[in-house]
């Protein structure tokens, strides 16, 4: 917990500043999503049909940039990480349901907001109504699911370096290299 002591030197923003900061982050995020074309149904479904790799190119370059930056900042003691805890029952079953919705709706939660800003009315009406119903439905079923499937195969908030008990950079560097090689391979195939 020594990192926790160190990051206290960075002042944590108050409640109102967090709301304002969130809004500003959103403007940048939405601007980038729209410029990347991922506020569009056609681009997202094209990715899932494996004909247009824009979504993966954006996600994977964000992951490489983000990963190297945050692990660097962590090793400098500037930040701490917040990996989510999870389980097989949570992440695989929930992930597959999410994936089905992703393909049928053609937007994910973040790009749905971007699609609304872009003017897409299917996102604003059916998309928003559906996601709110789905989230509400889950809240109602949560107690029952939490006693059963959500706890199956629990692995907590472990990271890959933690799981393999190795130095973080032993994983960060090869993962970054593999992602870059994958992106080069995609480009070479003209995708």
């Amino acid at each position: 917990m020594e990192t926790k002591e160190k990051i206290k030197t960075f002042k944590e923003p108050g409640k109102t500043s967090r709301l304002i900061a969130g809004f500003i982050f959103g403007i940048f995020f939405g601007f980038l999503l729209q410029k990347g074309g991922v506020t569009k149904y056609d681009v997202i479904v094209g990715q899932l049909l494996l004909t247009d790799f824009t979504v993966l190119k954006i996600m994977l370059s964000a992951v490489v940039t983000g990963m190297i930056g945050i692990y660097f900042m962590k090793s400098m003691g500037w930040i701490q990480l917040y990996p989510k805890s999870g389980s097989l029952g949570q992440n695989i079953a929930g992930g597959l349901i999410f994936g089905a919705g992703f393909a049928i709706l053609g937007y994910c939660p973040g790009t749905l907001a971007g699609a609304i800003g872009n003017g897409y009315l299917d996102a604003l009406t059916g998309g928003v109504a559906g996601i709110l119903i789905g989230a509400g439905l889950f809240a109602s079923l949560y107690p029952r699911l939490n006693r059963g499937i959500l706890k199956k195969g629990d692995y907590g908030d472990i990271t890959i370096p933690g799981l393999l008990k190795v130095n973080e950079w032993v994983i960060v560097i090869p993962v970054a290299a593999l992602i870059i090689l994958f992106l080069i391979w995609i480009e070479n195939r003209g995708l």
Binding site: I20, F29, K57, S61, M67, G69, P143
Partner: protein, 172 residues
């Protein structure tokens, strides 16, 4: 300033930008970027209008409080940012039916909206079940090398690819 009026940027520029944004999220907000919890809060807040305060006692809303937080404001910001970007490039385009959908299923807005709603229900339900979406798990989780993030991201795309092929390769 031509760059702001361009229709599209390279996906690698956009991805790198999102990666840099995530650094500042860790530094300033002290939390990774994520999106889908806001839909739970909104859903609960709407339910509270009709059913009153007792909605807050649901176990899930004890965990995910019915408040407007930074992420909720970020979602509004995403709408605004995308609107600004699309206005600047002349890409703002109010339409009901996406072109690719139209080429297979026709131009009826009703059909598209109903299917979008069905997809939205699965998306909202699945995001809460998996405890994250394409942002929280797919980008923020994977970049932290979280096991939950990688397993979720692979499941998102596995489910998405299978269903997209079922929809378009069988009917198209």
């Amino acid at each position: 300033m031509d760059i702001f009026t361009e229709l599209r940027w390279s996906p690698y520029i956009v991805g790198t930008g999102i990666g840099v944004l995530s650094w500042f999220s860790f530094l300033i907000l002290r939390i990774p970027l994520s999106c889908s919890t806001s839909f739970s809060r909104t859903s609960g807040m709407i339910e509270r209008i009709f059913r009153g305060k007792k909605v807050e006692t649901k176990p899930y809303y004890q965990k995910v409080k019915l408040v407007i937080d930074w992420q909720w404001m970020m979602m509004i910001g995403i709408v605004a940012g995308s609107f600004i970007s699309s206005l600047l490039s002349g890409d703002f385009n109010p339409e009901w039916v996406p072109a690719f959908w139209n080429s297979t299923f026709g131009h009826t807005p009703f059909l598209r909206v109903i299917v979008a709603m069905a997809g939205g229900i699965l998306l909202g339900f699945g995001a809460r079940w998996a405890d994250g979406c394409t942002s929280g798990h797919g980008i923020s989780g994977t970049m932290q090398l979280a096991v939950s993030g990688w397993i979720s991201a692979l499941s998102f795309f596995a489910g998405g690819i299978i269903v997209a092929f079922l929809i378009y390769r069988l009917s198209g």
